[in-house]
Amino acid sequence: MSVLKKMPSWMIALPLSFCLHSALQAETIAKYGISMADIPLTTGQPDRGSGAYQFTGHTIYDPLIAWESNVATRPGKLIPGLATSWRVDAADHKKWIFTLRKGVKFHDGSEFKASSVIWNLDKVLSDKSPQFDAKQSAQVRPRIPSIASYRAIDEYTVEITTKNIDALFPYQLPWFLISSPAQWESLGKDWTKVATQPSGTGPFKLDKLVPRERADLVKNANYWDKTRIPKTDRIVLIPIPDAMTRANALLNGQVDIIEAPPPDVLPQLKNAGFKLVTNVTPHVWPYHFSTYPGSPWTDIRVRKAANLAIDRNAIVKLLNGLAVPAKGQLDTSSPWFGKPSFKIGYDLPAAKALMAQAGYSPSKPLKAKIIIAQGGTGQMLSLPMNEFIQQSLAEIGIQLEFEVVELENLYLHWRSGAKADMNAGKDITGINLGYVTSDPFYALTRFVDSRYIAPNGVNWGGYSNPKLDTTLDTLRNNFDIKVQDGLLAEVHQTMVDDALMLWVVHDVNPHALSPKVQEFIQAQHWFQDLTTIRMK
């Protein structure tokens, strides 16, 4: 201490201030082990499903209308993105007018204007335009099916016309992201080059891309939404498709956050001080029934009995808590859940009674074949869970047989519909596929609208209910959000009361965090806001 007293004050202050400055300037880094085998597309429209938008979609780019993804305690809602406001034309309900945000710049310095929106719509919808990109188009076209035409009214106003009146159209727009026309021009109009040097308006810029190994996202300090400036300077996305390897990398300190830790490792992670984060997630793990004549599921008593024969709490236990029991297509906290009269739960006597009324019992079983995947994204622990259901249904007199295929092949069977030869020809009358239920179309309308009966859509089982079709028409023509919510709840109620599917569990989108992660807000959605990640 006496030595310190003898030293000139500048000799202490200088190194101290240097250390403090270094500490303040040190880059904060979060390493994020993602469950994908490769970094999703970085050119504008990410591939690899809705879970990829949080990584290379809403980080680098912005949509016209965004989804509120920085709240964990309630479902998010539509919020202004690059459009500050939007309204339907009072004279023509097919026309939507978007007022664009002024002063927004792409990462390359070019300005965002109405022409950028039109250029991006052409990029994915007009195969005659020079910037048309088949890959990006394939990702987003199915998600913005309502758009018929579009035009710029002035520098900051865009008009989009829908094919039919569609009051739910705004829900389609968080999927449509805006990339920089100037960057594409400057890189020789080559989307392959844009992939490594993308330019959007989002809160992060892509600093480095090593295919299949890493993508470095760095903070865009000039982001237009000052409430969403990233709290971490650099987020490194590391694809680690194997769940056990992801957990090992977290335990070893090579990454700070991982998606979907394997259920078996949870106790070890918790004991080692790692934090497990879960939340309500728009996902359901169901059996989607065929309601075509000849299907054993045409009898509502059988469908209801199946729903009452499953001990969902036991399945949650099987998953080490990484799921919540389903009481319908949606979680009960959803504003669209409604008040179904059919209460889904575990009631074996009631299930047996319903089967007896339908003329079946364990000694005289009903036989049905379900097509399932051996595993894959959204399928959770596919085989053990399906075996559990097989045993449960056997108790009430439903004898299930499985056709096990790879997930990619299952999609083919799904798109084709229950009536297609590949399904009906093999007596397949049910399909087990994890569904995303994030918005009205994804959660409800695509499964019940008779116009979407496969192959025109994914109403797989051919469900047709004229009353519901009328409700959907009313819904599309009503622009009051409260009324919309009421009508959507009505749709969901009918789905549950009709026991359209056997709903089993909802995923909780688990993440495991190292103690170095100070803040991580997990939204009740597949869209997540990585700007909320804060490191110690």
Partner: protein, 317 residues
Amino acid sequence: MLIYILKRLLYAIPIALSVTVVSFMLVYLAPGDPLNAIAPADAPADVIEALKSAYGLDKPVPVQYGLWVWRAVHGDLGTSISSGRAVLGEVLGAVSNTFMLAIIASLMGVCMGCVLGALAGYQRGGWIDKAATTLSVIGVSVPHYWLGLVLTIIFSITLGWLPAMGAGPGGSSEWLWDAEHLRYLALPSITLSVIPMGIITRTVRALVADMLEQEFVSALKARGLGRLKIFKHVAKNTAPTVLAVTGLQIGYLMGGSILVETVFAWPGTGFLLNTAIFQRDIPLLQGTILVLCMIFVVLNLLVDIVQPVIDPRMGRG
């Protein structure tokens, strides 16, 4: 010798052609739709048709094969449906990563195998023989991915000495041959080396034991040659077979191990194949299989050429 090499080169041509047919057709036998790699699962029929046309998948399979071979001959293996990147670049990047692993694993496997096999061959029935045989049986029997996980749990998680996954702190594009990066190679290469070690141990043991029974060894002993000089003769006579087996093993290792590379998230050919298979990325799958098969063909060709140099009797046949 020149005629021998030319003959071997000529044999390689029909093999290479067969490889192209098999690698192209094989992926069409698997169920599923390649467009699942790019289109969302609920993509409508018109989007699927547009994509088929954009990627040339609407053409008859023989036409697709002809176009593919024509482009492959000109060094173009097409574009990955999933990533949009050139297949050749993707495959060569992965091959170079697997090559690093394969070389280190081969060196470990061959050296250990030769030493253990020779010792076991000389000490037939002794404890060294029993230990070496046990090790070689374990080497060929233990599942790769299991061993990889066990090694990770011990050396990465419990002891914290080595990284659990990846190809260096900055990824394979920033690879350096320094201590920091070599740490990333340790666990996957040890895991991969156990099979060649086991196979070569068994091969060398059997060959050495057989050689020691040969009359020429008795003659050498009768002439009063020392153990070391006799060993040199034994080694020279066993070398061609060991070389052939080593060539095959390096070929297998160059193919990458899907399981080991997945367990260690090592961005090699096995990892690439795994990705391509699950995404039904047909151009990537075909390109990867083709390049790997050609590496195998070339390695066998090299072994065929080197063998007569070591043992001139083979060239005369």
